[in-house]
């Protein structure tokens, strides 16, 4: 068996007195599409935020593409140098619930900025790729618009293109459709569905869209109180959940 691209080993994450992840263990192999579901506050978004180095964790070990998040001599809350965190982040991209596009940049510049400034790509080349990505998400005609001129669904599709422009090996989606009007959810899910066919791209998706989770993921993980209570292949998971807590949650979201 090949080593997983993501490996959480006994990771504990606390916010003050509150323990959000408790001796957390979780492996993801390269190319796997994993959906994280569960009640709010169960720690699923925290898993993504830790992977993106937006949050430090206190105990345990986390590796991504062979890089350990904590350095032996690492200082500060992240127990790692900025340079090391930079190296880790070069493998990961993230799509946020609230899109977080840069409001003072055009759609095209939102996508081009990081490849030029961080990857030192030539501007022409970066723009060429940005145009390709915009075509893929169906927004090429909006390339000179500003984020405030776009609908939420369009903004999120730009945000996905922006994350992809950095060629991440792991792409994290933190409730990408939760801030959208219901009629705009479909267009964003359509783009994510397209990405699910990318063989090498590892995807972690936090969502409340159960039908979508069932359709695109290789594995569904149910979180409760900082642990994975149950996980499995989606057909089995949704049709025949084993744990009572999972059944309770699924019936509340599917019928609520």
């Amino acid at each position: 068996m090949t080593t997983p691209i993501i490996r959480f080993q006994d990771v504990t994450k606390r916010f003050g007195a509150l323990t959000v992840l408790d001796d957390f263990n979780f492996d993801v192999r390269q190319g796997e599409k994993v959906t994280l579901i569960g009640p709010s506050g169960s720690g699923k978004s925290t898993v993504l935020r830790i992977l993106m180095t937006l949050e430090p964790f206190q105990e345990g070990n986390l590796e991504l593409a062979g890089l350990s998040y904590h350095e032996p001599q690492g200082r500060g809350e992240f127990k790692a140098s900025e340079k090391h965190l930079h190296r880790i982040r070069s493998n990961v991209g993230m799509v946020f619930q609230s899109f977080n596009l840069f409001p003072h940049m055009s759609v095209l510049r939102n996508i081009v900025e990081a490849p030029v400034a961080v990857l030192k790509m030539k501007r022409d080349e970066a723009e060429g790729r940005a145009v390709e990505l915009l075509r893929m998400v169906g927004l090429l005609d909006k390339k000179d618009h500003y984020p405030s001129q776009l609908s939420g669904g369009q903004q999120q599709r730009v945000a996905i293109a922006r994350a992809l422009a950095m060629r991440p090996r792991v792409l994290l989606f933190d409730e990408p459709t939760s801030a959208l009007d219901p009629q705009l959810v479909g267009e964003v899910l359509g783009v994510i569905r397209g990405l699910a066919h990318e063989h090498d791209l590892t995807m972690l998706l936090v969502t409340h869209e159960m039908r979508f989770a069932r359709e695109v993921s290789d594995r569904v993980c149910f979180f409760d109180k900082g642990r994975i209570v149950e996980q499995g292949e989606p057909e089995r998971f949704f049709s025949n959940p084993e744990q009572p807590r999972t059944r309770e949650f699924l019936s509340s979201v599917l019928n609520g």
Partner: protein
């Protein structure tokens, strides 16, 4: 002496006032950015120094600051001519208030913008100058406009360290002519006209920034 003859000395004074005000606004703005950014630094030494400077200058009267730099500092062997002292002290005062404006506007940039920048692997300085600052600077402009006018009005105090500014000339004229009403009315009018010009200039800069960083704020497609 008629009121039109008052204009010669008053205009001469106004020139000095405008020069001191413009110089200390520009210098003050530079100091404001340096100190305001330093205030947001994670390094406690840097933010501590900036904090001390801001508190000292905001917490003491301008007149005493002027006297201190003009009369007390020479006692330890450091002395400047009155104009330099005036510009320096006004710059430091405007810079201290401006630093709080810069800091406030930087802190008002939503934390999600920083998270997005981090997720795209931008360095901290790149994030400051290309993500935070362009959004923050537009928010700073109205407050900077107020500070500029405040700075102009504060320049009146430099007459007390023997600078022949508008207020100084007004005092001299009144001492000679005893025509308080006319002299001070003209003086008020003079400050008001300069203030109006300043407001227009600041507004133009703000509009230029808005256009340069043009991002329509209304949400429509």
């Amino acid at each position: 002496m008629t009121w039109s003859q008052y204009l010669v000395p008053l205009l001469k004074g106004a020139q000095i006032t405008v020069m001191i005000s413009l110089a200390s606004i520009v210098l003050g703005a530079i100091i404001a950015f340096v100190a305001g950014i330093a205030r947001t630094s994670a390094n406690p030494v840097i933010s501590g120094i900036a904090f001390t400077y801001v508190v000292l200058f905001r917490g003491t009267p301008l007149l005493v600051q002027l006297f201190w730099f003009y009369y007390a500092l020479p006692l330890v062997g450091v002395s400047f001519d009155p104009i330099t002292t005036g510009i320096m002290v006004l710059s430091l005062l405007t810079g201290a208030f401006g630093a709080e404006v810069v800091r406030g506007a930087l802190l008002a940039v939503p934390p999600q913008q920083h998270e997005a920048a981090r997720a795209l692997n931008f360095s901290k300085s790149y994030t400051l100058w290309h993500i935070s600052m362009p959004q923050a600077i537009i928010e700073m402009m109205p407050a900077f406009g107020n500070l500029a006018v405040q700075n102009l009005k504060d320049t009146a105090l430099v007459s007390l360290i023997s600078i022949a500014d508008l207020t100084f000339q007004a005092q001299s004229l009144r001492n000679i002519t005893l025509d308080s009403a006319t002299v001070y009315t003209l003086t008020l009018l003079g400050y008001f006209i300069i203030a109006l010009c300043l407001m227009v200039i600041m507004r133009l800069i703000e509009m230029k920034l808005r256009r340069g960083a043009a991002f329509p704020r209304s949400a429509h497609s």
